[in-house]
């Protein structure tokens, strides 16, 4: 046995001793870890979608149309975009997180200087505008409320603390307007 082999033998013997003494008797909260991992997967998935799923031609057209829409002073088109974007996510079978994230971005687009990403994202789903799907503003609000209850901490951490308040205020106002005006959409 070479000195190095002897060294390793002694070391392995030492590690066996360590294993015998160092007995671990408890475990982490695996369910909690899995919940956090699921949220991270959703966020990652969403980020990937934002980065790559919108085809270039569609994105260019969407950007143009959104710039045009955003140049309008009337707030109504932005609400229609929100509904259509939400509709699109629902149609695609994506979970509430994605839908609400989409809405959050729409609110941001309309409340601050729009970024290229959010323009592309929002506008791409305008393509679904002509789909004959029935989704009310109230249902959209319910989804956001559900999301707020379930994922408030995580989503707030991602998108900012007051974003849901802002979103819900907007939706409340729009809902009242919509109920008073059947022709809103």
């Amino acid at each position: 046995m070479t000195p190095r082999e002897e060294e390793r033998r002694v070391m392995e013997q030492g590690m066996r001793w360590f294993r015998d003494v160092c007995q671990d008797t408890d475990c982490p909260d695996v369910d909690r870890i899995k919940r956090h991992v699921r949220i991270a997967v959703n966020e990652k998935w969403l980020a990937t979608e934002l980065a790559s799923e919108v085809p270039a031609t569609l994105a260019d057209d969407a950007k143009r149309r959104t710039r045009q829409a955003l140049s309008e002073t009337n707030d109504r088109p932005s609400i229609r975009r929100a509904v259509n974007a939400h509709r699109a996510w629902r149609w695609a079978g994506v979970g509430a997180l994605a839908a609400a994230a989409c809405l959050v971005m729409i609110v941001r687009v309309n409340r601050s200087r729009p970024t290229e990403d959010s323009l592309v994202f929002v506008s791409a789903f305008e393509q679904y505008e002509e789909d004959d799907l029935t989704l009310s503003l109230r249902a959209l609000k319910d989804d956001v409320l559900d999301l707020e209850q379930n994922l408030e901490t995580q989503v707030s951490a991602t998108f900012g603390n007051s974003v849901f308040d802002t979103l819900l205020d907007d939706l409340d106002r729009s809902l009242q307007e919509a109920e008073a005006d059947d022709d809103w959409s």
């Binding site: 003494v21 160092c22 408890d26 475990c27 956090h36």
Partner: protein, 200 residues
């Protein structure tokens, strides 16, 4: 036969990583099932704090989600995972050191109490008798105190070897030291631990 089993395990790990890279949630559940206990034990020994270890394990897996698409499987997923864990634990230690009025020894002493209550809280009734249990708790506490007396590199090399099941060569590579240094640290650490345990 052993070769076949190893090959199957390797293939199934490759499949699992592929699924994770496609962001399939079930793959991450499986990875958590496979590694969370080992990571938790590793981190709780390294930090001397079970609450911190829980947070760090969670953060390790979140990092895995964010970085898995950049991981190229070379059969050493364990090494990749434990490197993330080690880096996160080191970051935490640096933050603790920078926190005013907190020394590592104070942190350790406070955590040792938390440690004991945490273990009691989740004790498994199917485990040894109360007397055996008490003796085991004492041993574990002594071991934890002994670990706290090691230098950081000594502690890391022993824990990596035990929990990650990496070879000393891989550990040396991860710690960016020659293998002789890694072996010497492990040797020194084990000798100190033995001495500590026997003196108590």
């Amino acid at each position: 036969m052993i070769g076949t089993v190893e090959q199957k395990e390797k293939n199934s790990m490759e499949t699992l990583i592929g699924q994770a890279q496609r962001m399939e949630p079930e793959a991450f559940d499986r990875i958590v099932d496979l590694y969370s206990v080992r990571l938790y034990s590793f981190l709780s020994r390294l930090t001397s704090n079970r609450d911190d270890a829980q947070e760090l394990v969670q953060e390790v897996f979140v990092r895995v989600v964010r970085m898995i698409q950049h991981y190229e499987h070379d059969g050493r997923f364990d090494a990749w995972l434990f490197r993330i864990a080690l880096n996160l634990a080191r970051d935490r230690a640096r933050k603790l050191t920078r926190a005013p009025g907190v020394t590592s020894l104070e942190a350790f002493t406070a955590d040792a109490d938390d440690d004991r209550s945490g273990r009691d809280r989740i004790a498994d009734p199917a485990q040894p008798s109360p007397q055996d249990r008490a003796r085991l708790d004492e041993d574990v506490d002594r071991m934890q105190q002994g670990m706290a007396r090691l230098s950081e590199p000594e502690r890391e090399v022993v824990l990596l070897r035990h929990y990650s099941q990496m070879s000393f060569a891989d550990i040396a590579a991860m710690m960016e030291t020659p293998i002789g240094t890694a072996l010497a640290r492990a040797h020194r650490a084990l000798a100190k631990l033995r001495e500590w345990m026997e003196s108590q």
